[in-house]
Structure formats: structure tokens, C-alpha cells
């Protein structure tokens, strides 16, 4: 695939970069905190799913949307649960889509399904990177989270990935009920030692309708303490920076050069297509109109709203998806240019690199930034080019919703 030739997609126009995400909705078992769309088991549905996903990707390629794919991410769920089916999926996608030379191709995996032979096959098929859902190296914490693996299994999976030579990321969760700072410090230390070049660190958020929420409501687990989570987030920043993995996004740390490029597409307003049930897509309005016309989707007849970008999600159950991958309704949401600029500014402040003054001015948020600056939530510095750059402070990371909310809501009429 690396030698693929760019197809002729209309005379003279260069292909548009669109990243590709494939959602694999299978897991060994559901974790207690997870509200993603996935189901446990369903072995007999896995092969039909690969067929359906490839069919859907092929369908998108007709709109010239997969002619220049800078990043491909296969997430879930637990993609590696598909075993050889995943290898077939990767190969099929690389045949269907024109994935750019040197593209980042990430596969998500979990400890219980990380197998050395499978990893080797995936690398051979073109995968360049793995993301391993460890969450914790503490058995008690893993139990609270309802993970189906123990710390030993997580260590083993990390070793398999390290031995494969491919760069990998691991996910960690802090602020878990019952999790101690000692446990967290030990998990961080092990994460640094295990060979990961990228770390995602999330404070636990208790989602509606999850077993975790039910346990907390029933009183069998304590309510997560936000102060403890704050301490843990700070501890992560200190430990990971010292280990040569500085924070580059509110929840992401990496060795320089190992930042998650696919995620950066999300955070910098790039286009992406989602394949699979409940996968989200975002296109520019030009790209979207092309699709909508072809699909016969009707657009909102609101003349006052000129969309700049459109997001849509195929909301479909796995069963329906397998029967007719393309038939599900696709609710979409469009943002006008001002909203898109504000969204980019909001996402830009999730990044350590921040946003430039001209970007902030275009989004109409300079005044809001000045207020946040006064509250110590953002700071301002001069870039190499001499332009002012606004970036989130340590306290701003912890109170991220204040920062992001203020930026996003800056477009609405000011409060009295």
C-alpha cells in the first residue's frame, strides 16, 4: 500500500486528506464504566462485521473521500478480539483506501486479546502502532473497573508489544473509587518502565446507565473524589514529564515524535470518516454536500445557517448494520464558520501548543481568553514568529471545562 498511486479524482484537484476510523463493536466483556457502543461476545457476527465494514468503506471511496488517508485508526470495543478477521479488515481497508505513505495506522487492543502471533501478522499487514487499554497495574482497581484482565495480563501484553518493536500507547484511568495515591504512583512508574512511548491519562468519569454508576448510587462504591483525581492528574504530569513524555494534550503524554497523529486530526479540525455502527464522521461542508447529494439526504432548509463543517453518526445497532450497513438514518449536525472557528479554538486549548492570537481573533474569543488569563487558567507567550500564543495552564488543565466552556460559549450572548 505504501506505493499506492494517487487515483485521478477529478482533473487538476489534489486529493483531500480524510482520516479513517473503524469502530469494532465487540468486547470479551463490558467494563463497568464503559458507555461506548460495543457488545460482549458475538463470535458468529465478527466475520460478517468485517464484510460490512469493508463494504461501507468501499461505499465512501466512491465519493473520493478515501483518496488521501493520512491516518487510520481501528478502535473499539476490542479490535484484536477479531483475531485473523482483524488482519483481513486491515488488508481490506488498505486495498479500498488510498492510505498515505508513512501514514499512522493504529490498532486498539486489550491485554486479554494481545497475542504475539496476531501482533506480528498485523504489523506485516501494515499496522504501525498499538494502543493498549491497561487502565491500571493494580488488581483491585482493575476489579472495581470491571476489567476482564488482571495486572499480570497487562504486563504480559505490554511485553509482547514492546518485543514486537512497534511503538505503543497505553491508557490509564485515575480517580477510581478506592484507588490510592500509592497505587496510582506505582501504576505510573510501571507505565513508564513498560516501554510505552505514549500515554493517555483520564480521570474516571461516571457515565449514565453504566454498572459503575449503579454501584455508586447503591452505595457499594464511594463517589469518586474530584480532589483525589486532581492530585493524581498532577502526579501524572510530574512523573511523565520527568520520564521524557511531556503532556501535549489535556489527557495525552508522549515522547516527542510519538504524539497520536490520528487524535491530532480530531483536535485540529481535520476531516474524518467513521466506519461501523455509532462511528462519528466529520467533513467539510463541500465534502458533506457531495455525500448528501449522492445519498439523497435532505439538508435542513434554513437559509440563515451556512454550514462550514458537518458531523454525523450512523446510529445503528450491530444487527441492523450487518444486514444493511448503509440504510440507517444518519443524524447530522452542522456548524457555521464562526462555530467551527470556536470549536477549533476550544480544541486548540486542549493542546499544550495552544492557539495563536490570530486564530483566537478569528474565533472571536480574545476577550474570553483575557478573562481566563486573569483567572490563571490560560497563559500567553510569544511564539518564535513573534505572535502571541495562548495556552492552558496547569490549573487550566484541571479546570478544563471552565476553559473549554468559556471558549465554546463565547459566541452566545454575554451574561448580564
Amino acid at each position: 500500500m505504501t506505493d499506492a498511486i494517487a487515483p485521478a479524482s477529478g482533473a487538476g484537484t489534489s486529493p483531500e486528506p480524510v482520516s479513517l476510523y473503524v469502530h469494532v463493536p465487540f468486547c470479551v466483556s463490558k467494563c463497568a464504566y464503559c458507555d461506548f457502543y460495543s457488545q460482549a461476545g458475538g463470535a458468529e457476527l465478527q466475520s460478517p462485521f468485517v464484510d460490512a465494514a469493508l463494504f461501507e468503506a468501499g461505499h465512501w471511496s466512491h465519493y473520493d473521500l478515501l483518496d488521501d488517508v493520512p491516518t487510520l485508526y481501528i478502535g473499539g470495543g476490542t479490535p484484536t478480539l477479531l483475531g485473523d478477521g482483524l488482519v483481513r479488515l486491515v488488508r481490506g481497508l488498505l486495498e479500498t483506501a488510498n492510505v498515505r505513505r508513512g501514514a499512522e495506522i493504529t490498532v486498539e487492543t486489550n491485554p486479554e486479546t494481545t497475542d504475539a502471533a496476531l501482533v506480528a501478522k498485523l504489523l506485516e499487514a501494515g499496522v504501525t502502532r498499538f494502543s493498549l487499554g491497561v487502565q491500571s497495574f493494580d488488581d483491585d482497581v482493575l476489579k472495581t473497573l470491571g476489567r476482564c484482565h488482571d495486572a499480570g495480563k497487562a504486563r504480559e501484553a505490554a511485553r509482547i508489544l514492546r518485543d514486537s518493536g512497534a511503538p505503543f500507547s497505553i491508557d490509564l484511568i485515575c480517580g477510581v473509587p478506592g484507588q490510592t495515591t500509592a497505587s496510582w504512583d506505582a501504576t505510573l512508574e510501571e507505565a513508564v518502565r513498560c516501554g510505552a512511548r505514549h500515554l493517555s491519562v483520564y480521570p474516571l468519569s461516571v457515565e449514565e446507565g453504566t454498572p459503575l454508576e449503579a454501584s455508586i448510587a447503591a452505595g457499594s462504591l464511594p463517589t469518586p473524589d474530584p480532589d483525589t483525581a486532581a492530585d493524581m492528574m498532577l502526579a501524572a504530569e510530574v512523573a511523565l514529564t520527568a520520564a521524557g513524555m511531556p503532556r501535549y494534550e489535556v489527557a495525552s503524554y508522549a515522547q516527542p515524535g510519538h504524539e497520536a497523529r490520528h487524535n491530532l486530526v480530531y483536535w485540529t479540525g481535520g476531516s474524518y470518516l467513521g466506519v461501523g455502527p455509532h462511528a462519528a464522521s466529520m467533513l467539510t461542508s463541500e465534502q458533506f454536500l457531495r455525500v448528501a447529494e449522492g445519498e439523497g439526504w435532505s439538508l435542513p432548509a434554513d437559509g440563515t445557517h451556512v454550514p462550514a463543517r458537518v458531523r454525523f453518526t450512523r446510529e445503528v445497532s450491530l444487527g441492523d448494520y450487518l444486514r444493511r450497513p448503509l440504510d440507517a438514518p444518519v443524524p447530522f449536525e452542522s456548524l457555521n464558520a464562526a462555530e467551527a472557528a470556536r470549536e477549533d479554538a476550544m480544541l486548540g486549548l486542549r493542546l499544550a501548543s495552544g492557539i495563536t492570537s490570530s486564530q483566537a481573533a478569528a474565533a472571536g474569543v480574545l476577550e474570553t481568553l483575557a478573562e481566563l488569563h486573569e483567572q490563571g487558567l490560560v497563559r500567553v507567550r510569544k511564539s518564535a514568529g513573534g505572535e502571541a500564543v495562548w495556552a492552558t495552564t496547569e490549573q487550566g488543565w484541571l479546570l478544563g471545562n471552565r476553559v473549554f466552556g468559556a471558549i465554546w460559549n463565547a459566541g452566545q450572548p454575554p451574561r448580564p
Partner: protein
């Protein structure tokens, strides 16, 4: 005009929830005033709030035609009255328009406090009382016990009480027969100067103020010029008619008739409940007895959450007052809350209803401060101030004494809860007067108690401590001197005027402590530490701290999360909109009501 001997004017009176409105519905159906297919529940309660809450706020009158067992068609005027103690005066005026009353008692609940209060009011108005035991279709109905209670507690012979069910319609015809047979027909002098009683009024956007009236003497016809004696208003009669329940104009209303009067006036305060209508020329000399000015009992500050809505709030109050002249208001400004209005209401329910109507009918978002009563502050220089708001309290050094309104309170309760009532009333500074057993299952307890204590969550506490069995009635007694102090609340070192309240000296420490604790739970964590203090005259008596918020971030944010996250941020902002920004602190609305929920 209808022959007065064929008219029966009656009211249905009951304790709340005893089924008054449903019974009225059945009467309308039985007399074909409303056909079954047009029937909705609680026909006479036309406001949404009335239907939703199952209560009657406004009085209503409806004329029904009923052919009795004697083959004669009678004109019955049913006057539906509000069922809550807040509206006692309105009820008394409605009763004045009648000769009889059907006293509805729930067959499962028996006699309750407002059964007694309403029955006494009806007796004072010299009405013929027809007891009706309702809800006999319920399995737990015990008509014999209730019959006994009516006789014991009210001294009304109940052996002929009508047994009925508003739900099934059983007994409704018997009730109407009893009305025809036992309620006296109206008596008046058709040749005397006009005298008609106004028992309610409302504002119609097209026709101006419409009054509901009962003619005592003489007659009233369209085109006449009339004078409203207490208000001194002179106006033309644009139309008179009867309500069936739609308005049906008639040429004139004569002795004993009940109907409506279209005045064309634009100001409801000129048409007062209890006033007498007479002819402008050669009118009556003496008005009907019993009129009085309605005085508010509780006061609260109403502030728009969005300060820009102050003019809208003023317009809304102006408009609402057209329909309900018992609401009074004057501008009030607060350092904490900005511009708003100090409003007076007949009681807590009335206050709640008005706030809800303002928000609903005028699309406003309002914040109400804790209700207060009218204090009489006697200064050392001999001056007396009427204070409706803790903010207006003068410096302690200039005060000689403060007097507060006292109530006569009656509680009806099963004997096993007497101890619980004793305990609760003591916490609320009530003085026990006496008690008597009305029956083996009902004790009547009398207290004297400050109104300010009654509005302190007393009713909810009463209900919860007696598992809902206790019922309550009260009337204003007098003003008495009490050792009262103003308690201030400071947030981050600054006094928040809208949180101040007036409290008895002996309770100040406990309530200050409880309130600060409560506020600590209500005020969300801010970006900085917020000390909450309670103080009397600069002396801090309690302190709590809301720790600074350290973490507020949802870190996960990938493709599909972005929209979701944005929506969450929008929701968070909306949540904030419901809070009031006091200086740099975001204070939720409930903080201003917290003092009411402080249990001792």
C-alpha cells in the same frame, strides 16, 4: 328574571383533596350543563395550575337548571370557592352570596382542619349546611365514623348526610334534591335600590374587568350606571349575564340571581371582592356588611435571574395584578440580586402560585428570597416602621422593640400524634392554649404562634411528623413584641443582603449554624475558597467553608465525543444561568430559600 322562589344559591365547601371539584363536575354533567363529550376534569378550574395541582384558586359561579323530583325546574347557582387557608376572605365573600352549602367530607379522611374552618364560616354566614360524605366507593371508606365525626366536631346533624361518590356519580342527584328541599330560596326586595355583592373579579383582555355578582335587592341591567360603594368607582354596565359556564348575556339580573357584570374598567383594583354594587343615582345608602381590605400576610423579593428582564417583570406584575389585585408589589433593590420587587401575598401557596404564573405566563426566570412577614419596628424616637424586608431593618441601637404578627392556630390530629405536635410547636415558639377531643380519633389543638414561624417549613414538618394525618388552619390574631434580631450571611467576607433574615434571639445561634451548614452543601465549589459566615450585628456566630474546586474536566475527547462534550458544556452553562452571580460567586436559587428548610 328568574322567580326567586325557584332559585337556590349554594356553594360546595371542603378540606383540600376531599373531592369538591370532581363533585362539581358531576353536577354539571347530571344537569346537562356540559355534555359528556365536552367534559374535562375540574371544569371550573380553568387555570393550568389549578388543574395540575388539583386545587381551586379562583372562585367560579355556574348556573345549572335542575328538574327536581317534584317536577319543577329550579335554577341552581353553584359557587365554587378556593379551598386553601390563604384565600379565607375570598371564601367568606363567596359564601355570603349563597343561602346554603354542601359540606363535603372525605369518607376515608374524615373531618379535617379546613372542614371545621369552612363549616364555621358557613355557619357564620347563616347558611343551611348539607353534609355530604364523599368517596364512598373507596374500599377504606367509613361513612359511619365520618358521620359521627361531623356530629361530634361540628354539631351538625348528619343522620341524613348524603352518601356520594364524585367518581361514580352516585348520590349526586340526592345532593341536588337536598339542596332544593333544604336550602332556602333567596329573599330580597325587587323594588329597593340595587344592592349586589361582588364575590370575585377578573380581567378579560377584550372586555375589561368582569365581576361575579349576587343580586340582593333591586335589579341590574345593561346600560345602567352603577357605583361600587367601597372603592367609589362609578362605571357603566356594559353587559350582564349568567355563566353556563360560557357567558350568556341576559337583559337583567334580579333578586337572588348570580351572574357576571362587564364593566369595561381597565383596573381590577377598582373592583374589589366584597364590595357592593348599587345604582349611581338613587342608590342604596348602606353597603352590604363584611367588606374589608385584603392585606398581604407574607412578603418576598422577586428578582429576575437575568437582570435585563426587570422591565418585563414589572410589566408582568402589572398585568397579573389585573387578575389578582391581592398581589401588591414595590420596587426593591439588592446589592446581591440587583433590581426586583418586594411582593406581598395572602400566604405561601398564593406566593408560589403567583411566582409560577409569572414564570409560565410571562416566560420569566425568577429568584425568590425567603419570605418574611410584616414587622412593626418601634424606634427609640417613638417612630413606628412597617418592615417587609430584613434589609430595611434599622440599626439595632435605634430600636426600642419589634412586634410581629401572631396567629391563632388550630391543628386537628389523631390522638397518637399529640406528642409530636407538642414537640413541633415548641420548636416554633408556639404557645399552647388548649385541646379537646372531637371524637375518639380526632383531637383539636389550639395554639398561638408567630406567623414568621408558620412560614418556616411548619406545614411540611407538621405533615411529615404526623404521616400526613394532621391538618392545619389559622387566623391572624394580633401583633406582639418579640426579642428579634437580624441575622446576616456573609459570603467570602461580604454580606449578602438577600440572605439576611429576622429571627428570635434564642434561635439565632442554632439557625445561623444550620444555615451555614446547609449553604455549604448548596453553594457549588468555585475556583476559590468561599467562607460562609452568619453574623448578628457584625459578630460572627457561625462559619463554614466551601473549598475551592480543583478538578472539573472531562478528559476524553475523540471523534464522536466532540459534539457530546460541546453539548455538555452548553448544559453546564445553562445550569449556571439558573444560578445568580453574587459578586464573583455563583449562588444557586435554592440558597435563598435555604433558611426555610432549616429544621431545628
Amino acid at each position: 328574571m328568574t322567580d326567586p322562589t325557584l332559585i337556590r344559591n349554594f356553594s360546595i365547601i371542603a378540606h383540600i383533596d376531599h373531592g369538591k371539584s370532581t363533585l362539581a363536575d358531576r353536577v354539571l354533567q347530571l344537569t346537562h350543563t356540559i355534555e359528556d363529550r365536552d367534559m374535562v376534569e375540574q371544569v371550573l378550574d380553568s387555570m393550568d395550575i389549578e388543574r395540575e395541582r388539583g386545587i381551586t384558586i379562583k372562585a367560579q359561579a355556574v348556573r345549572v337548571l335542575y328538574t327536581a323530583d317534584d317536577g319543577v325546574e329550579y335554577t341552581l347557582n353553584l359557587i365554587d370557592t378556593p379551598g386553601h387557608v390563604d384565600f379565607t376572605y375570598e371564601v367568606s365573600r363567596s359564601l355570603q352570596a349563597c343561602e346554603g352549602a354542601v359540606l363535603v367530607v372525605d369518607a376515608t379522611q374524615g373531618v379535617e382542619a379546613q372542614t371545621v374552618a369552612n363549616a364555621i364560616m358557613a355557619m357564620n354566614a347563616h347558611l343551611e349546611i348539607i353534609p355530604l360524605i364523599n368517596k364512598i366507593d373507596l374500599p377504606s371508606a367509613d361513612p359511619e365514623r365520618v358521620r359521627h365525626e361531623i356530629e361530634e366536631a361540628l354539631a351538625i346533624p348528619a343522620d341524613e348526610a348524603v352518601l356520594a361518590s364524585g367518581k361514580t356519580g352516585e348520590g349526586v342527584r340526592e345532593a341536588l334534591e337536598a339542596v332544593v328541599r333544604h336550602v332556602p330560596h333567596p329573599v330580597g326586595d325587587p323594588h329597593a335600590p340595587l344592592k349586589a355583592l361582588i364575590f370575585d373579579s377578573y380581567f378579560d383582555a377584550y372586555r375589561g374587568v368582569v365581576a361575579l355578582i349576587r343580586v340582593i335587592d333591586g335589579h341590574i341591567a345593561a346600560g345602567m350606571k352603577v357605583r361600587l360603594m367601597a372603592a367609589g368607582t362609578v362605571t357603566d354596565v356594559e353587559e350582564v349575564g349568567v355563566r353556563r359556564p360560557v357567558h350568556v348575556p341576559v337583559e337583567q339580573l334580579g333578586v337572588g340571581e348570580v351572574g357576571y357584570l362587564v364593566t369595561g374598567l381597565k383596573d381590577t383594583s377598582l373592583v374589589k371582592v366584597g364590595d357592593t354594587v348599587t345604582a349611581a343615582k338613587h342608590g342604596a345608602v348602606e353597603p352590604l356588611p363584611g367588606y374589608r381590605e385584603v392585606k398581604p400576610m407574607v412578603y418576598t423579593g422577586l428578582f429576575p435571574i437575568d437582570g435585563d428582564q426587570y422591565p418585563e417583570l414589572r410589566d408582568a406584575l402589572d398585568k397579573l395584578r389585573l387578575n389578582d389585585p391581592s398581589v401588591i408589589y414595590e420596587p426593591e433593590s439588592s446589592h446581591a440580586l440587583g433590581f426586583g420587587f418586594r411582593c406581598g401575598f395572602l400566604g405561601l401557596l398564593h406566593m408560589e402560585i403567583i411566582k409560577e404564573r409569572l414564570e409560565r405566563e410571562f416566560d420569566l426566570d425568577l429568584l425568590a428570597t425567603a419570605p418574611s412577614v410584616e414587622y412593626h419596628v418601634f424606634k427609640t424616637n417613638g417612630e413606628m416602621l412597617s418592615i417587609h424586608s430584613p434589609q430595611d431593618m434599622p440599626e439595632p441601637g435605634t430600636i426600642d422593640r419589634i412586634e410581629e404578627p401572631y396567629l391563632k392556630v388550630t391543628v386537628l390530629v389523631p390522638p397518637e400524634f399529640v406528642g409530636a405536635i407538642m414537640e413541633l410547636t415548641e420548636l416554633h415558639r408556639a404557645t399552647f392554649v388548649n385541646m379537646q377531643y372531637l371524637s375518639a380519633t380526632t383531637v383539636e389543638m389550639h395554639y398561638e404562634m408567630p406567623l414568621s414561624e408558620l412560614i418556616m417549613d411548619f406545614f411540611d414538618q407538621l405533615k411529615s411528623r404526623t404521616r400526613g394525618y394532621a391538618s392545619l388552619d389559622y387566623e391572624v390574631m394580633d401583633y406582639r413584641a418579640s426579642a428579634l434580631v437580624k441575622l446576616d450571611v456573609l459570603l467570602a467576607g461580604k454580606a449578602v443582603d438577600a440572605l439576611s433574615f429576622i429571627v428570635h434571639k434564642d434561635k439565632a445561634f442554632a439557625r445561623g449554624k444550620m444555615l451555614t451548614e446547609k449553604l455549604r452543601g448548596i453553594i457549588p465549589r468555585q475556583m476559590f475558597e468561599v467562607p460562609i459566615q452568619a453574623a448578628i450585628g457584625g459578630k460572627i456566630i457561625a462559619r463554614e467553608t466551601v473549598r475551592a474546586m480543583r478538578k472539573d474536566v472531562i478528559a476524553k475527547c475523540y471523534g464522536g465525543d466532540i459534539s457530546r462534550k460541546r453539548k455538555l458544556l452548553e448544559k453546564q452553562k445553562k445550569g449556571k444561568k439558573r444560578m445568580k452571580q453574587v459578586g464573583t460567586i455563583e449562588v444557586p436559587q435554592e440558597a435563598f430559600m435555604a433558611i426555610l428548610k432549616v429544621d431545628d
